[in-house]
Subunit: 220 residues, 2 copies
């Protein structure tokens, strides 16, 4: 895909890749750094919908539609390659191999949205936060971004709250609880699982929805 014409851009934390209401004109591929999708309610509450990690194509979701229905913002500093909408569209519809790959990517992200709905709708705060930590670990591991069972979670507790439908205060209490129970270790934004099978059980985490072919080695 990076054989297409593209432009590399360096982005600061909080900068917008997509704004709700925009007409999508390009698709960014995250080369480094993290991004997040979110939406605001009429009352100004924010719901974070997904976290994107390096390697993710950030705007298949909006690309073929007339206007974007949510925002995408950088979580950390990073780089993206921006490819014009037309170039991607031509490629996707000209080449069945690539078309299939793009469609599958979009469907897998859709599966992740569904799992988040389950997480927020039907798990208590402890499972809910653990689930987010597990998903993130698992996806990072697939990109070889986990070392010694340790990874960086570049989110503030307020962002974690907006991703899980909780308040920052409650997120803090739950994280401390998980720590007290010996399920996780934390230092700033660094997270380490003491025992993968325990946290996985607390989280009710089943990676089927990620549709990864081979289980990542770190978390079998």
């Amino acid at each position: 895909m990076l054989n297409l014409p593209h432009r590399i851009r360096r982005l600061e934390p909080q900068s917008y890749l997509v704004r709700e209401g925009d007409r999508p004109e390009r698709c960014a591929v995250l080369l480094s750094g993290y991004a997040f999708r979110h939406k605001l309610t009429g009352q100004g509450a924010r719901q974070i919908l997904a976290i994107n990690i390096p390697g993710d194509a950030v705007d298949f979701q909006n690309m073929l539609l007339e206007e974007s229905d949510h925002n995408v913002q950088m979580l950390s500093r990073g780089h993206v390659a921006e490819i014009p909408r037309d170039a991607i569209e031509d490629l996707v519809f000209a080449n069945a191999q690539i078309g299939r790959a793009v469609l599958i990517t979009a469907l897998v992200e859709s599966a992740v949205f569904r799992e988040w709905t389950v997480n927020i709708g039907r798990r208590d705060s402890r499972s809910r936060i653990s689930h987010l930590l597990c998903e993130f670990a698992y996806r990072l591991a697939a990109q070889k971004l986990v070392t010694d069972g340790t990874y960086e979670l570049p989110m503030t507790q307020e962002q974690l709250a907006d991703a899980t439908g909780l308040t920052p205060v409650h997120v803090n209490r739950v994280l401390k609880g998980l720590q007290r129970e010996g399920l996780i270790e934390r230092d700033r934004r660094i997270v380490r699982f003491s025992d993968w099978s325990k946290i996985r059980d607390v989280a009710d985490f089943n990676p089927r929805y990620l549709h990864t072919h081979e289980p990542s080695i770190a978390f079998a």
Copy 2:
């Protein structure tokens, strides 16, 4: 799409169209009746993820993946046309027009998943239930299934609860409340909005995420 080889089936309420873990072998198009997607947690709680109405193709979401990550079940009696996976795949990748249409359909459903996450994560029970009622009305209206501002919502209060992340008891209290406030009228499963603009405001409902080109006449 119905020019492809297909088989019409009549389905009873509660019958499964897709089970989590299945390898998708066909794609069903709903001709009549309603269906719903759902997932169960390890503790047996159910989260309903989406409602499908006549005209929806029920399994673009799983079709290209190795195994289904959620269940699809009939809500009411109805008919589906089942098209073999291979036939659809060939068509989608051979014909760019159709490929584009299928991709857009999948992306719009994805947008609906996102809005449900916002609804469950960041709206209180009153807005949340109202939002579901508004979305349903709006989508039905687009299919000309609303008459005199009245439509059938073929869901039990338990199903409404599983769709909104609430309990059936609370759903009941909220519905009664909306009724007492004069926002909705109900008779069995029939719902009528006394004043569309009022319920829309309570629901914080903005149809942008449905990506319908023309607003449905009933609810402009």
